[in-house]
């Protein structure tokens, strides 16, 4: 008899088996991208920015590093939660193979989310190590930043997986997601400069993004400047996104894979 956790781990194992053979193709986009951004904007452009109140007194690269962790997790989540999901339903049809076994659609959904969690943890860890070696870590708080960054990634991933499970066509539906959600969020939700620099009208848009909450958390952890209520608030928002997204994902997988 297949126990529920065993079933989910089998789903993860199937993804891992594929990834083991194809990881090279993702090394650049998942790990090198944030490193390039950290070096170019953190160190390069950062050399033009004086440490001050905005950067918590640190150099700009140190200020950027924890937020970059969260931002990279969100970008990786975007990649992992769109075309691979559509492919599972449509091109590789691997989900159909799974549900032809005792694995249920709901377990496929949660297994897929678990796999994304593994991917995000792995690439964030590698990036955190490289950033620390380059001297952009403020202190041991970066480890907690890493945990918060992965949570941020999942808070974006779960609702997106739920959406991707409803996409039928060739994936053109993902283009607006990348252009109008991922990119503006990456640039404007507090990663590179505090959202207080944004016009007051635009600021509420940043508040609803998971990345802004994630950035507040990763920075608080990295600079060891955590206050109870804001941290609890940000955590609650991100966890709620994971829960709602996960719930919807399970529902959409059931609907599409159910017989």
């Amino acid at each position: 008899m297949l126990r529920p956790w065993q079933a989910r781990l089998l789903v993860v194992e199937s993804m891992w088996t594929w990834y083991r053979r194809n990881w090279r193709a993702t090394a650049v986009s998942t790990v090198l991208n944030p490193v390039f951004f950290l070096v170019a904007l953190g160190f390069g452009l950062g050399s033009q920015i004086q440490p001050g109140a905005i950067t918590h007194g640190y150099s700009y690269a140190v200020y950027l590093m924890p937020a970059m962790l969260a931002s990279a997790a969100v970008q990786n989540a975007a990649g992992e939660s769109t075309f691979p999901i559509l492919s599972g339903f449509k091109w590789s049809r691997v989900y159909w193979g799974m549900t032809a076994t005792p694995i249920t659609p709901a377990q496929v959904a949660t297994g897929q989310l678990l796999w994304i969690l593994c991917r995000l943890t792995f690439s964030a860890t590698v990036f955190a190590i490289i950033g620390t070696v380059l001297g952009a870590a403020a202190g041991p708080g970066i480890v907690l930043s890493l945990v918060f960054a992965v949570l941020t990634g999942m808070a974006f991933s779960a609702p997106l997986v739920a959406f991707a499970a409803t996409v039928e066509g060739e994936g053109h539906a993902f283009n607006p997601v990348f252009r109008f959600l991922v990119l503006p969020m990456t640039l404007l939700a507090g990663t590179f400069f505090p959202i207080t620099e944004l016009p007051a009208l635009v600021r509420p848009l940043a508040w609803i993004t998971p990345l802004w909450h994630g950035t507040e958390l990763t920075r608080a952890a990295a600079f060891w400047d955590m206050r109870l209520w804001p941290v609890l608030g940000h955590l609650a928002y991100l966890l709620a996104l994971v829960a709602v997204g996960g719930f919807l994902a399970i529902r959409h997988y059931r609907r599409r894979l159910g017989v």
Partner: protein, 268 residues
């Protein structure tokens, strides 16, 4: 150039002077994908907004071409135009082309008609340039309205940015013909992103140590950024002819390699 010379360089078997129909097909196909096309315009606007509003406050004024000080937004806007021309042209010439070449077999279909590989190459590049031209016009209009340009020479940025796009598209196309699978596209990323970030796009070359500056000057995007920045600031220098010739050579070499390889891949 007389018609005779063209026909000696491009033999009639490869070029039937019907590239127009390939462009027409792109129009028809993209009628339904207007969202993708339209949204491309916003990408550089988001960058401009983030750079101008956020970094602008953190950095203040910078030293632009000719030693004059300018706002950071005015400094970065022309560079973003050059970068978006590069990104647009390369993505179109790699991802789209590869898909049509290997999976949709669009070109096999085209070559079964009186079209030759040169018609296909010219048609596809023309379509990419039309798109790029529309984006560039929009972007130039926006930055002019925002007061980020200080010279009427800016009008020349449009033809120059099209030359830049042509050069990148041609080289991208040539590279695509050597690609084996999707995995190879990570190499495209590996070339584009560092170029985007390190080619004096966001900060002056003087940030780097001398040896590194020299390497950065090899990057084609660096030359495009210099051209755009000079034109929007109205600083015309002889060095611009050097930057321009870089792209002329790049375009010619890219086109020749791309057309030869396409002919070989599709006709043999």
């Amino acid at each position: 150039m007389s018609v005779g010379l063209v026909w000696r360089i491009i033999p009639p078997g490869l070029y039937a002077r019907r590239a127009r129909t390939v462009v027409e097909r792109s129009f028809l196909v993209n009628r339904r994908a207007w969202m993708t096309i339209f949204s491309g315009f916003f990408e550089s606007l988001f960058y401009l907004f983030a750079m101008g509003v956020g970094f602008g406050r953190l950095i203040g004024e910078v030293v632009g071409p000719g030693g004059q000080t300018m706002s950071y937004a005015a400094y970065v806007a022309p560079a973003l135009l050059a970068a978006s021309a590069m990104n647009g042209a390369v993505y179109d010439a790699t991802f789209n082309l590869f898909f049509k070449l290997k999976y949709a077999k669009v070109y096999d279909g085209m070559l079964a008609t009186p079209l030759g590989p040169f018609d296909v190459a010219i048609g596809e590049i023309s379509w990419a340039l039309i798109r790029g031209g529309v984006y560039a016009t929009g972007f130039l209009t926006v930055i002019s309205v925002l007061g980020l340009v200080s010279s009427p020479w800016t009008i020349l940025a449009l033809p120059v940015v099209l030359l830049v796009a042509l050069a990148f598209a041609a080289v991208g196309m040539a590279c695509t013909t050597f690609m084996r699978s999707w995995q190879d596209f990570d190499l495209v990323q590996l070339a584009l992103l560092p170029m985007f970030l390190f080619s004096a796009t966001f900060y002056p070359l003087s940030v780097y140590p001398a040896g590194l500056q020299w390497i950065m000057q090899l990057s084609p995007l660096y030359h495009a950024v210099e051209l755009m920045r000079g034109l929007t600031a109205g600083i015309m220098e002889w060095a611009m002819l050097g930057h321009l010739s870089y792209f002329v050579v790049m375009a010619i070499v890219g086109l020749i390699v791309a057309a030869r390889r396409l002919g070989k891949l599709l006709l043999s």
